[in-house]
């Protein structure tokens, strides 16, 4: 028998024993235990070391608000740090370790920090590490020196560094009513909404539905609350329109009633089910939301309130009732309200001795007195705990007389031996989601808490969330909220259920802090003390938001669930204003820590979308090295064994210029432009005329942006009177489509034109070189391909190997070239036929490198030159600007700055030292390696030109044409490449175009 396990009771399965380890020690617990309850049952009281001072810490709560007992869970080499032990369900073989201790949890050398505590107060880092103004440690250098040491000493768990093999997943859901929280209020709301036929999602962050019904020990209409809850859950399970999500934390409330939740699908299992995710991220779009998220009991701030053995009263009650675990044998109760008395009664019934109850209030109700008497406790009204004793574990408490008006009264303090101190400082409704949704909380003097407004835009509240702490009222509120959220008319609310034992008065005394000597923690997780808050005030921080950032109060992973209100109260007292005037901070998502994996879900690794051309598999089978161009995968080179990239592309380009080459151009953007006004539309969007283009011909077109700069280029083919096929650059396909759609929809809705992306409809193969026409002639049927049938920019329909094709004679390589389009499903078939036909002529497939080489030799522009800053004239495309019509960009393209002299213009460069040139390198008149300056422009693309036998480049250079024939230098300090170049025309090769016109 575990030392602290009660002989009976609790919702654990005592017949199922589960073995696990904590810091290497083997323990056993039961099915239904959390790591916290299982360790407590084994008598473990020390769970971790605190953030700054390395103080020993135990477990304070039993839920998601736990600030102390943070552990790291290990699965093989994968480590997940900073998980509250209260949220870890044990499973067979669980391995958990404590954090922030060295060399071990029990003996931590950094605990010495607490002796120097004054020096690590609020703003410590800001003040200490602001280095001197001069000297070797000036500015932030001192900080950088110390940072590594401090980072090791202060902090939380260590993050893992091996890949996480778990699967994460995203899920979308839609419902009429989302109920957050499955306590009595939430269950009541869900049942009411479900009965009305609404689609309901019920989300519960714990592994079991029922919320407080699991540990309240109450009866509802004579039935144990647990049974009442499981009856309703059973009922809900029978509804088709209800989805029950347990282990699901709703953590974000966004616009449009869209909520984010995380479902811990596999964390409680030793091995996940096949294909099942570890975490599932839910995006829930709800017509209405019922917030039944309950309330958090908050600690009192007093010296030594962080010693292991100090625990929230409600948590102690939960350990006893839900897990059958007693957190102590000799328990002292310290409270400013009635609720701790029921905890005392519960613990006493479960077998603990309640030594004393210290109540800050002078007057205590008869109900409480009765409860105190029944559990045999000495009732000390008007008393406070002023210190705790013990090393790593509570040994006793010091009590002194106290008055609400005057604080701790002088006189002899009294020591009481105890191994557990349970504390209640009142309750703070869990209003986080409402706050995220924009609700402004209102301070309630009776409850000493911020309450949500009655309802918000799209949500209704019920139960503890509303500050309603009686189960009977919570059930009634749930009923009403469920009806409203489901859009049902309001009805007369029936009689309240009969709850036993009767509810106690929830109103606490307005006391948050007991001032005495010693560290009194407000924010346990970040080690922020009451003195830190006052220090912040002394140093002039007035706004709560600043207080929060300066002291880091409430900024730890628990997000100040327990510390927010006490922190505010202390600040308010220091400022001398009432709490509501000091205000509160707005809660932001996430309500609780969320795994990054669940946010990324399947968006990683090879599951990002890839775009593949129809001939993709052929490329791979034929030795292509692939290259990612946006989402597309394109062949870079088809390297032969032993070839370098440069050798491969030089061979490919050379063979193309000598015989023939074929390249996959399926990635070019293709847009069907159809309709009676298609030609008019193209006249408006291109700088040149398309209405004059005859059917069966193609034309090169240039588009500008509205501001007159170049946007994109490509050829457009007229397939019919009302039917054009526009091609765009691969990279700009989406942008061009959107640009055109915008003008049709917003600016010229009167034009009858339809645009359709047909990029994927067509497989494209460009075949070029002196033998290209012969190759086509050898495989094309149904049409001639001679100069007469297929002149430059002509289009014919035919067949290759039985598949219909569309052939246009146009050239990017500068060779006699043809683009052969076939249906994508026929792409590989046609490609293979072309390869076969090309074999006798020595044709090679070539990749992007050779394509780029040949275009540089020809001086054709691409995205590197169309960089959003160049005008048509800068690129020597001024001849394409029609004077006969306005077009997009025509009004702005002649602005002063765009026609000024000295603009960067497209030129060619030849390396004079026979060394490669690099894109991005600057062009200067004279080299100055120590002080690079005086850029005349930059290189946009570079290659070795097999046609010239030299390293060449395209560049944008100030003055451009005027510098042809002049020498300049490349200046590339980053790659340490300096050297002479000659500036020449960008038309390096065959400037008259004899080869392509044939």
């Amino acid at each position: 028998m575990s030392p602290r396990r009660t002989p009976s009771g609790g919702r654990i399965d005592r017949l199922r024993t589960i073995r696990f380890t904590f810091d290497g020690t083997a323990y056993a617990g039961h099915q239904g235990d959390t790591l916290a309850s299982a360790l407590l049952s084994n008598g473990v009281s020390l769970f971790g070391r605190s953030f700054k001072y390395h103080r020993p810490r135990g477990v304070l709560t039993a839920g998601i608000d736990e600030p102390n007992a943070l552990v790291t869970v290990l699965r093989g080499d994968v480590r997940e740090p900073n998980i509250p032990a209260t949220m870890v369900e044990i499973y067979e073989g669980l391995v958990a370790v404590s954090q922030n201790r060295f060399p071990s949890l029990a003996y931590d050398v950094s605990a010495i920090n607490q002796l120097g505590g004054k020096f690590i107060s609020a703003g410590f880092y800001y003040k200490t590490f602001m280095g001197p103004v001069i000297g070797p440690l000036k500015g932030t250098r001192f900080w950088m020196l110390c940072e590594k040491i401090i980072r090791r000493a202060a902090g939380l768990g260590r993050a893992g560094n091996v890949p996480d093999p778990s699967r994460y997943e995203r899920m979308n859901a839609f419902c009429d009513v989302l109920v957050v929280g499955s306590g009595p209020a939430g269950l009541s709301a869900a049942r009411e909404a479900a009965t009305s036929g609404a689609r309901v999602i019920l989300a519960e962050l714990d592994p079991t539905f029922g919320g407080s019904a699991n540990w309240s020990g109450e009866t509802i209409d004579g039935e144990p609350a647990i049974a009442w809850a499981s009856d309703i859950v059973g009922e809900l399970r029978d509804h088709d329109n209800v989805r029950l999500l347990k282990r699901t934390t709703v953590w974000g409330y966004y616009d449009g009633n869209t909520l984010a939740a995380i479902e811990r699908v596999g964390d409680h299992k030793a091995t996940p089910a096949k294909g099942a995710p570890r975490h599932r991220h839910w995006t829930i779009r709800a017509k209405n939301v019922v917030l039944a998220s309950g309330a958090f009991e908050r600690p009192l701030v007093f010296a030594g309130n962080d010693r292991p053995g100090v625990m929230m009263a409600s948590a102690a009650m939960r350990y006893a009732n839900q897990y059958g675990v007693l957190p102590g044998d000799k328990i002292v109760v310290f409270a400013n309200n009635d609720s701790a008395y029921s905890a005392a009664a519960t613990l006493n019934k479960a077998g603990a001795t309640i030594v004393a109850i210290a109540d800050l209030r002078q007057d205590v109700s008869e109900d409480c007195r009765t409860l105190a008497r029944e559990c045999g406790a000495e009732l000390l009204t008007g008393h406070a705990v002023i210190a705790t004793e013990g090393a790593k574990k509570l040994a006793g408490v010091k009590l002194a007389a106290f008055s609400i008006a005057a604080g701790v009264l002088p006189g002899n303090a009294r020591k009481i031996e105890a191994d557990c101190l349970i504390v209640s400082g009142g309750w703070s409704p869990t209003i986080h989601l409402a706050s995220q949704a924009g609700a402004r909380p209102v301070w309630d003097d009776d409850l000493q808490a911020f309450l949500p407004p009655e309802s918000g835009n799209g949500w209704y509240g019920a139960g503890g969330f509303n500050g309603t702490f009686s189960t009977a009222d919570a059930i009634l509120e749930g009923f009403a909220a469920g009806r409203k959220a489901a859009g049902q008319p309001e009805v007369e609310i029936g009689t309240a259920p009969d709850i036993e034992p009767a509810a106690l008065d929830p109103r606490p005394a307005p006391v948050f802090e007991i001032k005495a000597n010693g560290k009194a923690f407000v924010d346990y997780q970040h080690d922020v003390t009451a003195d830190d808050v006052r220090l912040a005030h002394l140093e002039g921080f007035v706004s709560v938001e600043h207080l929060k950032r300066y002291t880091t109060l409430g900024m730890a992973t628990d997000q100040g669930k327990g510390s927010n209100v006490p922190g505010l109260a202390i600040m308010a007292e220091a400022v001398g204003k009432p709490i509501p005037e000091v205000g509160t901070t707005r809660f932001r998502p996430p309500y609780a820590p969320v795994s990054v994996g669940s946010l990324a879900a399947e968006r990683f690794g090879d599951l990002k979308p890839d775009r593949l051309t129809p001939m993709h598999d052929w490329h791979l089978e034929n030795g292509a090295t692939m290259y990612s161009a946006g989402l597309w995968h394109r062949p870079m080179i088809y390297g032969e064994p032993g070839e370098t990239v440069e050798q491969a592309y030089v061979r490919e380009a050379q063979t193309t210029r000598q015989a023939a080459g074929i390249v996959d151009v399926s990635t070019l953007g293709k847009i069907a432009v159809q309709g009676p006004d298609a030609a008019e539309f193209l006249d408006r969007v291109y700088t040149n005329l398309f209405s004059t283009l005859p059917v069966g011909k193609a034309r090169y077109g240039l588009m500008l942006r509205e501001d007159g700069l170049v946007f994109d280029d490509g050829t457009t083919w007229r397939l019919g009177d009302n039917d054009f096929l526009m091609t765009t650059t691969t990279a700009n396909a989406g942008k061009v489509m959107q640009h055109l759609e915008y003008f049709l929809d917003v600016v010229w809705p009167e034009l009858r034109v339809h645009l359709t992306s047909v990029t994927d409809q067509w497989a494209g193969a460009a075949i070029g070189g002196p033998r290209a026409r012969e190759i086509l002639a050898a495989c094309v049927t149904g049409t001639k391909v001679d100069n007469e049938a297929l002149p430059f920019m002509g289009i014919v329909h035919g067949e290759i190997a039985g598949a219909p094709v569309l052939i246009c004679r146009l050239s990017f390589s500068g060779e006699m070239a043809f683009e052969v389009y076939s249906g994508s499903g026929h792409g590989t078939h046609v490609w293979e036929a072309l390869i076969e036909a090309g074999e006798p002529f020595g044709m090679v497939p070539y990749g992007l490198e050779a394509l780029s080489t040949m275009r540089i030799e020809k001086g054709h522009v691409t995205g590197a030159e169309i960089d959003g800053r160049t005008s048509a004239r800068d690129l020597h495309l001024g001849w394409m600007l029609s004077k006969k019509k306005p077009f997009i960009g025509s009004a702005m393209m002649d602005r002063e700055g765009l026609v000024a002299s000295g603009r960067l213009e497209l030129v060619g460069l030849i390396s004079l030292d026979n060394r490669p040139l690099n894109g991005g390198a600057h062009i200067v008149a004279e080299i100055d390696t120590d002080n690079p300056h005086g850029s005349l422009g930059h290189i946009t693309a570079a290659c070795f030109s097999p046609a010239l036998g030299k390293y060449i480049a395209l560049a944008l250079v100030s003055g451009g044409k005027a510098r042809h024939g002049k020498r300049a230098h490349v200046s590339d300090p980053l790659r340490n490449r300096f050297g002479p170049v000659e500036i020449v025309s960008h038309h390096f090769f065959d400037p008259e175009g004899k080869r392509m016109h044939g």
Binding site: D610, Q761, A801
Partner: protein, 195 residues
């Protein structure tokens, strides 16, 4: 005629996959219709275009966004204002419509090679699709025959409900293999059969 090559070829593995020991949650298949055609009407000509669809396919489309219908041979649904996707198990549908739809009514665009049609069927079809799309797949919100346009990652998808637990998905052909892998990945959990 030359047969179309499926873009799924190397990743299409017929048989049962994933967590199928407790049963098959969904069946995944490629439909490979002979024709996929986009029809689009000019403003005010939508009814005439719908009448033409009816005369060619015998499918009656209701008024309203996304309305659709299907028969053994044809399927049709609206996916954008005055725009429809129509499929035929046989080839040549674009040519038929090109004759039937005059330029005064609208345009016909052949997408038979440009889109890949996939089908997901089974009790868990809605669950699996909900992992990929922020779309309410319940019958009330997404009735039989109707269609929608949406996106998963960068993958534009048109979806038609082809049965009480069956959806047809049309994706750009270049994305089809990637999308198929994602679909299979999402279906792992419920067990799936590729047919």
């Amino acid at each position: 005629m030359v047969e179309q090559l499926s873009p799924l070829e190397p990743v299409f593995r017929a048989g049962s996959h994933g967590n199928f020991v407790d049963g098959i949650g969904v069946t995944l298949s490629e439909i490979a219709p002979g024709s996929i055609v986009q029809l689009a009407a000019w403003p005010g000509q939508e009814k005439k275009l719908m009448a033409t669809i009816n005369s060619v396919t015998a499918l009656k489309l209701a008024d309203g966004a996304g309305a659709g219908a299907s028969s053994d041979r044809y399927a049709a649904f609206g996916f954008a204002p005055a725009k429809f996707l129509v499929t035929d198990t046989s080839e040549g549908l674009a040519a038929t419509f090109a004759k039937e739809v005059p330029s005064a009514i609208g345009t016909v665009t052949d997408l038979s090679h440009g889109r890949t049609a996939l089908r997901i069927t089974g009790a868990k079809a809605e669950w699996v699709l909900a992992k990929l799309f922020a779309i309410d797949f319940s019958s009330a919100a997404f009735p039989l025959g109707s269609g929608i346009s949406t996106t998963h990652h960068d993958i534009f998808t048109q979806i038609q409900r082809s049965g009480p637990a069956s959806f047809d998905l049309y994706v750009f052909r270049s994305f089809a293999r990637s999308f198929w892998k994602m679909l299979c990945h999402a279906a792992d959990e419920v067990g799936y059969e590729v047919r």
